[in-house]
Symmetry: C2
């Protein structure tokens, strides 16, 4: 099978055997500014290259899975809105199906990262898995009964917009106190900047080379690792709020695995342990006992591995020897 | 088919046609203090009576659905713990299957109320439905893809233990700020009692006949309906917290329906409207547009109707003319 992870800046394509063993792998720039036709051509070319590398002919491919950014209708592969690509209502599944002459299945990139971690990554074997990615924003995906759970209109998994701080800061969505507004990389950096504006947070400022505008979550994490008290407080609070959300999800969904990925989750022990402590404090005993709370294992490959898994799940034509 | 709702004080049993049309209905006291054998005998007798009323013979029954309190394993019908009944590890499904000589399917009462509302009640036609019951405590159930969602170990749907108030009051579960600790009937009454202890809340006190210990959520609701400012504040706050939880659930699960039942939800417009306002404020636009937020329609019959629906879903033997 073939998996494609279409991002705003790059297209990552893999051809694999039926167990997800990657035999061919191609990475090319998206070139979104060159228009839809260019992007489609690049995807088609990438698929051909990956198959060539893998020594597989197109006739032996059962299905292609494609991850795309933004809200979309997975049933027909219609991308509603992808600001990164300048797309609105693009029937990507239909276009690629025609060009590749293969069954194409499209899903949201966060959903596919969740599926990738569930089938090939940190949540292998989990039937019900919640994936949370914490980077600039906070996103996620739900795998229930081994399949992506989309909800009524494809909007499920908006973990970043769970309210975790009753009177917390305003979120980009218009609500206040969303997880994304208190625990994303952006939120962590904003809190540090606010401290610095008050003349505090000097340890963080020095990690950012003395430039307030250069303060990032990474700088805060670095200062925290060095033992800076203010940075530790910021990372702990972000972790604590993540724990409120994780506990809520455990109480609501009783998943077998919660997988946390994204750049902010790689920022050291302080945030991770604050998250775990808060989760343990707030989750119900029986549900907590059954759940594995683990770091994502696939990093930037989660999306393309999920696209491969999606292709495999939709391979109804050749169950025995699918590629 | 036959549905049984086994409660701490009464057993409600119904025999119905394949569309859920109830043809026979029997209500008897549980008599839990008389022991397990007595309760089982009462269930068996109720089923026989309901079938007799309905004019159905046992050979024409495809399956029996049973709702039981407390955590249980629905796969084998094992009730882990039901303090109301004095039960621990009772293999109810096995016992009843042998006694009735019919396939018996057991599930949690809140899950079955959710299924009942989904199949026959306020959420008819919804594929993904969240049911929330607010009475002494706050419970719930999730219907995803038309079926009860149990999670990894049967613990899903613990909506009462979502954290909605970061630094809120302690909950019975040990956590603080759970929905149950701020929006249940118990929480509403406790808040009023605390006011009265401070010498305030006189409007509420008079609704309770002047006795502080007699203050219930019902008394607070009655005072609020009469325009009492303190009672209105308490009902509004409870509604607001319900809205935080409902919005979170909408953002996470993108359901097509949220159904709210239980005694506290019948306490007038103030709580309901505060819940709706807060939900609208905090839920993401697309998910909010697609969801029906409605009052439960089946009242005390939700459980037994859900038991009927469970029997119908598990009727694989006689798809054409099941009873």
């Amino acid at each position: 099978m073939v998996g494609v992870d279409l991002g705003g800046t790059k297209i990552l394509t893999a051809a694999a055997d039926c167990r997800g063993g990657v035999l061919g792998r191609v990475k090319v720039p998206t070139g979104a500014d060159l228009g839809l036709d260019h992007v489609v051509n690049e995807i088609v070319r990438s698929v051909e290259l990956a198959l060539q590398q893998a020594g597989i002919t197109a006739e032996n491919v059962a299905a292609v899975g494609v991850g795309a950014p933004g809200p979309l209708d997975p049933r027909v592969g219609l991308v509603y809105l992808a600001p990164n690509l300048g797309w609105r209502n693009v029937p990507l599944g239909e276009i690629l199906g025609r060009r590749l002459n293969l069954p194409v299945f499209v899903d949201n990139d966060a959903n596919l990262a969740a599926l990738g971690e569930c089938v090939y990554g940190a949540g292998r074997g989990a039937d019900n898995l919640v994936y949370i990615t914490v980077s600039t924003g906070v996103g996620g995906g739900l795998i229930l009964g081994g399949k992506i759970y989309h909800g009524f209109s494809g909007g499920a998994g908006e973990i970043g917009h769970l309210t975790v701080a009753e009177d917390g800061p305003l979120c980009g969505c218009g609500n206040s106190g969303c997880l994304e507004a208190v625990a994303s990389g952006t939120a962590i950096a904003n809190r540090a900047k606010a401290l610095i504006e008050e003349g505090r947070g000097l340890g963080i400022l020095s990690e950012a080379g003395g430039h307030k505008d250069g303060v990032s979550a990474r700088a805060v994490a670095a200062a925290a690792s060095r033992g800076d008290g203010e940075a530790i407080m910021i990372m702990r609070d972000a972790g604590r709020y993540l724990g409120v959300a994780v506990a809520g999800i455990i109480n609501l969904l009783n998943p077998s695995a919660v997988v946390l990925g994204g750049g902010v989750m790689q920022s050291g022990r302080i945030l991770w342990e604050a998250m775990l402590d808060e989760t343990r404090r707030r989750a119900l005993g029986p549900a907590l006992q059954g759940v594995a709370i683990v770091r994502a294992a696939l990093g930037g490959e989660a999306g393309v591995m999920g696209a491969l898994a999606l292709a495999a799940q939709n391979n109804i034509k050749k169950p025995a020897d699918d590629l």
